[in-house]
């Protein structure tokens, strides 16, 4: 570690999105020396793109609403592999966490009586599914994520959180006892490499939607925390579970609302055939999202996709006429023009099932403590925490409900902060990292910087994203996944052998993109192996060769172990503390 500068904190949070800033706020409020280390200025984080809202039983739209109903919906939505103690915690603590956001200034929309506005979302019910549709999603117009992220940034400014803005975390540093004692990070503006030492290290690095060619996710969603955890040898949980949306704009990934099909739009293949009539003769294009997305993938894989590469289908809207499009779908008309370079009045919109959310991640308990599995038993990783999309606590199981991601990140960012506060108050003792410990964490960066002849980041990234898109998308099949795994296998050495032509220090984004691609690869490989090994269909994981849910063998979490590349199982928690267990049932809506 010759010459390496060291910064020391009580707690360092990696990631300046909703989860990270809620965690850092909690600790900064208590006066602990807290750093939020983020590769982009905090308000550029992907939380900013959340639109619809934050689902929570604050009993505003319905004074009789009950968090237990929200819990029931979430357990059912997870296809029964969400941990019921964690879901219980999220749904019951949620109202407090949402009211805190309001007190911080979040500009929620309002009802006439001045309370927070709530709207209906998918999968919501009253009275454990028996009382009809609920309206439980608290919203700030259709910019809830933006409002939430800015509010949290503002609250952190008020509480003097130290922001390490535009710093890129490279790898975890562990001492000789295996305690995580901080990270190696690059200050992007200067290129300086710094050892950021901390008594508690929180991974709040968000999702990794960029493993797919088509994603609603920002460029920055490259699974950096997952990559760091996997390289450290820790297991990740349910990483095969990815949520897709049927209609993301091809190439850009921007979402096109289901309302287009509600207004009479429909999907066509390269022959102009309205193919949904074959897959869902009654509901056609308005079948369930998973059904539509799977049907689209079948068309593409069987060679009936559109375009030069046959890798998308079309959403046809022109038959609706200019008037309807402009009066009822003006936003989509605008989006389509902006991102598909197509005016839907004249031409169909190229769409493709689009990766949206990573349900899996770093397993944690409700306190945010990261867990790995050793010889089949849970072990807490000392010094390491995770929250938000990077974590798998697990409240989403095999399928996340809309509006639950924002609640997850606020509730568990807060919970991690509260727990770390308590730990810090009691005192945290560990042996300082030695030079060797730090050098070990420098390995990847050193090897990238010393490589003069190697693979090109952009080219490899394209191959990786296409591989994941083709073989591990909405619709999965053992045969295709084997092909995908072979391709990824062949890619591993090449990914380790990336060379950057630009080795300068100041704001070198080429170096960052290379490091990001290596993170993406770790997530992709874990996804591929876990998806292939989970031999059933559940929630978002849908297999042709194993079309049924298999509760006998797979009513459990998957744990992917990076060193052996093997999958093991982990029990789902069915023991909430204050309510009866929700027993698995056939999931119908």
């Amino acid at each position: 570690m010759t010459g390496l500068r060291k910064l020391s904190f009580d707690a360092v949070v990696i990631g300046g999105g909703g989860a990270g800033m809620r965690a850092s706020l909690q600790m900064a409020q208590s006066g602990f020396k807290t750093a939020c280390l983020t590769k982009v200025f905090p308000t550029r984080s992907h939380t900013v793109s959340a639109q619809g809202g934050i689902t929570c039983a604050i009993a505003s739209a319905d004074p009789n609403d009950d968090w237990r109903w929200h819990m029931y919906d979430t357990v059912k939505g997870s296809d029964y592999i969400g941990d019921q103690d964690a879901i219980e915690y999220m749904c019951s603590v949620g109202p407090e966490a949402v009211f805190e956001l309001e007190h911080m200034g979040l500009p929620f929309s309002r009802f006439e009586n001045g309370r927070i506005y709530q709207r209906p979302f998918g999968g919501q019910s009253k009275d454990y599914g028996a009382g009809g549709q609920a309206a439980r999603t608290c919203a700030a117009a259709d910019r809830t994520g933006h409002a939430l992220l800015h509010t949290l940034y503002q609250a952190n400014l008020k509480n003097n959180t130290t922001f390490l803005n535009e710093w890129f975390a490279v790898d975890l540093v562990r001492n000789q006892d295996g305690v995580v004692v901080g990270v190696i990070a690059i200050e992007i503006e200067t290129g300086e490499v710094v050892f950021v030492e901390s008594k508690a290290t929180v991974l709040a690095t968000g999702g990794a939607g960029r493993i797919y060619a088509s994603t609603t996710n920002a460029h920055i969603n490259t699974g950096d925390g997952i990559g760091m955890a996997l390289r450290a040898g820790y297991a990740v949980q349910d990483i095969e579970m990815w949520q897709f949306h049927p209609t993301g704009i091809y190439g850009a990934g921007t979402l096109v609302t289901e309302g287009c099909r509600g207004e009479g739009g429909y999907l066509i293949n390269k022959d102009g055939e309205r193919f949904m009539e074959r897959y869902a003769p009654n509901a056609k294009d308005l079948a369930g999202r998973d059904v539509v997305a799977r049907s689209m993938m079948t068309e593409i894989l069987e060679g009936r996709g559109c375009g030069e590469h046959g890798d998308h289908v079309f959403l046809k809207l022109d038959h609706l006429g200019k008037e309807i499009l402009h009066s009822r779908l003006p936003g989509i008309t605008e989006l389509s023009k902006t991102f598909a370079h197509v005016d839907p009045v004249n031409a169909p919109i190229p769409v493709v099932p689009t990766c949206h959310y990573m349900m899996g991640g770093i397993p944690t308990n409700v306190n945010g403590q990261a867990i790995t599995q050793v010889n089949g038993k849970d072990e807490i990783i000392p010094g390491l925490y995770a929250c938000g999309e990077a974590a798998c606590v697990s409240v989403h199981g095999a399928n996340r409900l809309g509006g639950n991601s924002l609640l997850d990140l606020v509730v568990f960012g807060r919970a991690a902060g509260i727990f770390i506060e308590e730990q810090l108050q009691q005192g945290i003792d560990y042996r300082l990292a030695s030079e060797d410990d730090v050098d070990r964490a420098m390995g990847r960066l050193n090897s990238l910087d010393s490589n003069d002849n190697g693979e090109d980041t952009a080219e490899l990234k394209r191959e990786l994203q296409n591989c994941m898109q083709n073989y591990f998308g909405v619709f999965r099949d053992g045969e295709y996944m084997k092909k995908g795994r072979d391709e990824l296998n062949a890619m591993r050495d090449r990914v380790a052998n990336i060379a950057i032509s630009d080795k300068s220090k100041a704001f070198n984004t080429a170096r960052m993109e290379a490091l990001e691609l290596q993170n993406l690869f770790e997530v992709a490989e874990a996804t591929a192996i876990a998806a292939d090994e989970r031999t059933e269909s559940r929630g978002a994981h849908s297999r042709n060769d194993f079309p049924e849910r298999d509760d006998k063998n797979w009513l459990c979490h998957s744990m992917y172990h990076p060193e052996t590349k093997k999958l093991t199982k982990r029990d789902v928690n069915f023991k909430p503390k204050t309510v009866d267990t929700f027993e698995p049932k056939v999931r119908t809506y």
């Binding site: 308000t43 550029r44 992907h46 927070i116 933006h146 920002a218 460029h219 370079h341 300068s504």
Partner: protein, 234 residues
């Protein structure tokens, strides 16, 4: 298409220069300026710029395109190209770190200066503070700011006095809290703005309004603050 990009690497360049790059664009598609930058970067890794959401909500990629500030990710090439040439420069008026990446320090400093957080010391109880839909509507057109800095860096008053004039973005945010029925610090906020520079350096040029990628109107917000300051003085 010919693209002229501002280049400056502090380690190798004594001074900035414009680099001309010929980029072949796919037929029949009107790319965003960000797409064009990505194409250039695939060939030349050394080009640096910021980007994140690529849909106009995160505010990372404010740049100057053929003389006008905007977000590269939602600006179609056809909208800005003149004479068959796309010219991309960093946002004007801020120090350049490298290529299209500017040092936003003074911009963020002005944002922090207006205390951009709700101030209310009355205990709220176990629920949300109530706010009528009419009072909430007063925040529309204010809270949507994405801090991209397109406005402040197009403002001649901010170019001249970036340390003393808060600038359109900071003042828009200042008014967002002045206008919030839940905020109790109106007097303190106004007192901190009551000098010849913070607000009154705005000359109503309205470049901020013309470039805001979110369609917001900082000049109008500044007008409201002026009114509040003036009625406070009398």
């Amino acid at each position: 298409m010919l693209v002229s990009v501002y280049r400056y690497n502090p380690e190798t360049d004594r001074e900035p220069y414009m680099q001309d790059v010929e980029v072949s664009l796919p037929e029949g598609k009107d790319l965003m300026v960000l797409d064009v930058l990505n194409l250039i970067k695939e060939k030349d890794q050394s080009l640096s710029y910021r980007r994140s959401c690529r849909e106009g909500v995160c505010g990372s990629d404010g740049v100057n395109m053929n003389g006008k500030n905007g977000l590269a990710c939602i600006t179609p090439v056809s909208e800005v190209v003149t004479g068959g040439k796309l010219v991309v420069r960093p946002l004007p008026g801020l120090p350049v770190i490298r290529d299209l990446v500017v040092d936003m320090g003074v911009f963020y400093k002005q944002y922090q200066r207006i205390k951009p957080y709700l101030q209310n010391s009355t205990p709220a109880g176990g629920r949300e503070r109530l706010q009528s839909p009419e009072d909430r509507a007063k925040l529309d057109g204010l809270y949507e700011c994405i801090l991209c800095a397109c406005c402040s860096t197009s403002c001649p008053s901010f170019w001249w006095n970036p340390e003393k004039f808060v600038g359109p973005s900071g003042l828009l945010q200042a008014y967002r809290f002045l206008a919030d029925s839940r905020d109790e610090a109106t007097e303190e906020r106004l007192a901190e703005l009551d000098d010849p520079f913070s607000v009154f350096r705005c000359r109503g040029i309205m470049n901020c309004v013309s470039v805001c990628p979110k369609g917001l109107n900082p000049t109008k917000a500044i007008g409201h603050i002026r009114d509040m300051l003036l009625s406070r003085a009398t």
